[in-house]
Symmetry: C2
Subunit: 140 residues, 2 copies
DNA sequence: TGAACCGCTTGCAATTCGCAAGTTACCGAA
DNA sequence: TTCGGTAACTTGCGAATTGCAAGCGGTTCA
């Protein structure tokens, strides 16, 4: 029997797999981290074809995991703003490691040369740069 | 967000998400990389409760992706040996980034202090160390 | 030669996914 | 102040995937 969802803790790979081991969650994190997505529609329109019910479920899971923050836009109550929490921004090095791997092994993947150079020469600095450009949510 | 980060449209993350964006694949990679798993039964017995049909399907997908190699044990034709290809071992930094994240954010993490220390001080060296200890498959 | 093991495969019920349509709330213009 | 449009979901339903258990063909060992 598969481990219950409350038995995630302990093994770090099991924890990470449970939290972000999902195609759609990774794409949502990409959009938040690298594409400036902040609203529900941004994710829907990201070009990956995620269904709206799946998007809603993944955003709830990421919020419950403490990775994503959800808040009402103070200037427009009809709008919701999604952002990365500190726990979420701490995933940037993981995303960058994936990008470096894909850049090396997927012949059809296009990573800008400047980006890949920055990644290979100093990934930590690039991670900081990306993090510092992210908008902060109101709770921070 | 800065245009520099918008030049490409998520291809590398889409590729990585498609290849390893799955809970079971990440656990299989963990077992291969860190737990010395080499045979079908090793994965079944890893304690995660993966179903045998799911395991078989994921191993095929990882093999098709060029991440995992499957070969017959030359000393026992009834046995199959699974191992990481170079494309697979190049995922070690990604796994280590996930482990570092989990070690930081899972309050019940079981990452040994010595491992975490090695990870934080020189992740690249640790990745090499892990890779060098892996068995090579016959094709290499 | 037969029992045991190994690596799967199959059958089936239950869960999850993906698509499309519907719903609720808010905002801005008339 | 109402009305149309937008934003963020929610619901319904058929299809695909998952999880569980049993089965199966090949190989090794006693």
């Amino acid at each position: 029997m598969a481990k219950k969802l409350d038995e995630w803790h302990g093994c770090p790979m099991r924890y990470a797999a449970a939290m972000i081991g999902d195609r759609w969650k990774l794409l949502i994190l990409r959009d938040l981290t690298l594409k400036g997505a902040r609203r529900y529609r941004d994710f829907l329109d990201a070009g990956e074809g995620i269904a709206t019910n799946i998007l809603a479920s993944r955003l709830v899971q990421l919020e419950d995991a403490g990775i994503v923050n959800r808040e009402q836009d103070p200037k427009n109550a009809a709008r919701t703003i999604y952002s990365l929490t500190p726990k979420g921004t701490d995933l940037i090095p993981t995303l960058l490691a994936m990008i470096a791997w894909s850049a090396q092994w997927d012949p059809e993947t296009e990573v800008p040369a400047s980006f890949e150079r920055a990644l290979r020469s100093d990934a930590e600095a690039l991670a900081h740069e990306i993090r510092d450009k992210l908008p902060q949510f109101a709770g921070e």
